[in-house]
Amino acid sequence: MPELDEDHMMAKDLNAFDLISFSSGFDISGLLTHSEYLNCVERFVSKEKPEKILERVKAMVDKVERVVVRKDEKACEGVKLEGLDGNFVIAVRIYRLMNELVVIEVKRKEKKVGGGQFWRTQLRPLLLELALLHGNASK
């Protein structure tokens, strides 16, 4: 396997421990935070191509007022969604798992009061459409 340079750091397939480390049980930052914002993560498995997933997300955001799409500097396949009212920031990142499977990771920082609406009513339903709803690996 060729060595990966920095630009491709994120392009390596996820291994078993990468997946395991996704558990919320490992995120002990909850020990340190007491604020008006909630930090949440959700992940989905999908068979769609990363480009298509991100296109669908951007197309949906285009139609929503007061939400913009920004580049996610930390991920080579990801975007950041910002609520212009300061209610939330959402990072959507795609990781490759194996074959055509990908993991869509959504990290949200949203105001405890009123910050979750965009996620609940727009983004999550869209991602559920794109997600694999059963563990079927076959075409």
Binding site: M9, K12, D13, L14, N15, A16, F17, D18, L19, I20, S21, F22, S23, S24, G25, F26, D27, I28, S29, G30, L31, L32, T33, H34, S35, E42, R43, F44, V45, L97, M98, L101, V103, A131, L132, L133, H134, G135, N136, A137
Partner: protein, 213 residues
């Protein structure tokens, strides 16, 4: 608990001297004091006894004292350095220290190995990995077929289990982590670097001036 030195300090009884803790960790004295405020609030959330119980730990992390999680359990067990079933302030600071951005890599690698070695045999066995992967999938929306899970574990072990004995020992883990540094991401909490400024809501009495005199 309750060690003290010859300088009179305005600490509550039973608290370990912050100067000693600061000298043995990556935290400064005022950071140790900030951690003490944090510790006080967590350790009094269910029973006010100056110790963090499993329930209080779960409450702090999940905001739900009843939520059980195999991984949080492992972290709790590792924080419970003296194996008393509760975490005292000394345990708390020394364990959080491993998550400090400046903590030595070897400590993080060691901690992560112990985290995944569920039954503490000194090896991360294949069925432990499977158990953890399944636990992870149960708590999320991710759906994977059993064959996919097996393939993922096979590929991981091909990479990590160099002597192909079906388990990963510490040396193999060190090697694997050096090839996959992102695995240690969970072992660093960037907030810890600036804890006194990250959490202005913590009002605490700083004894730094008295101690430095």
């Amino acid at each position: 608990m309750g060690c003290f030195n010859s300088k009179p300090t305005r600490q509550s009884p039973g608290q370990v001297d912050p100067v000693i803790l600061a000298s043995q960790t990556a935290f400064t004295v005022s950071e140790v004091e900030a951690l003490f405020e944090l510790f006080k609030s967590i350790s009094s959330s269910v029973v006010d006894d100056g110790l963090i119980s499993k329930e209080e730990f779960q409450l702090a992390i999940f905001k739900n004292r009843k939520k059980e999680n195999i991984f949080a359990n492992r972290i709790f067990d590792l924080f419970d350095v003296k194996r008393k079933g509760v975490i005292d302030f000394d345990d708390f600071v020394r364990s959080l220290n491993v998550f400090h951005p400046n903590a030595p890599l070897e400590d993080k690698i060691d901690f992560s190995f112990k985290l995944y070695d569920l039954d503490s045999t000194g090896f991360i066995e294949r069925q432990e990995v499977k158990q953890m992967l399944i636990a992870l999938l149960c708590e999320s929306e991710m759906k994977l077929a059993d064959e996919v899970i097996e393939t993922i574990i096979d590929k991981t072990f091909l990479d990590a289990d160099l002597n192909q004995d079906g388990k990963i020992d510490m040396d193999e883990w060190q090697n694997f982590v050096s090839k996959n540094p992102s695995l240690l991401k969970i072992m660093t909490l960037p907030y810890l670097r600036d804890i006194t400024t990250s959490f202005p809501s913590f009002v605490f009495n700083s004894n730094v001036d008295e101690i430095a005199a």
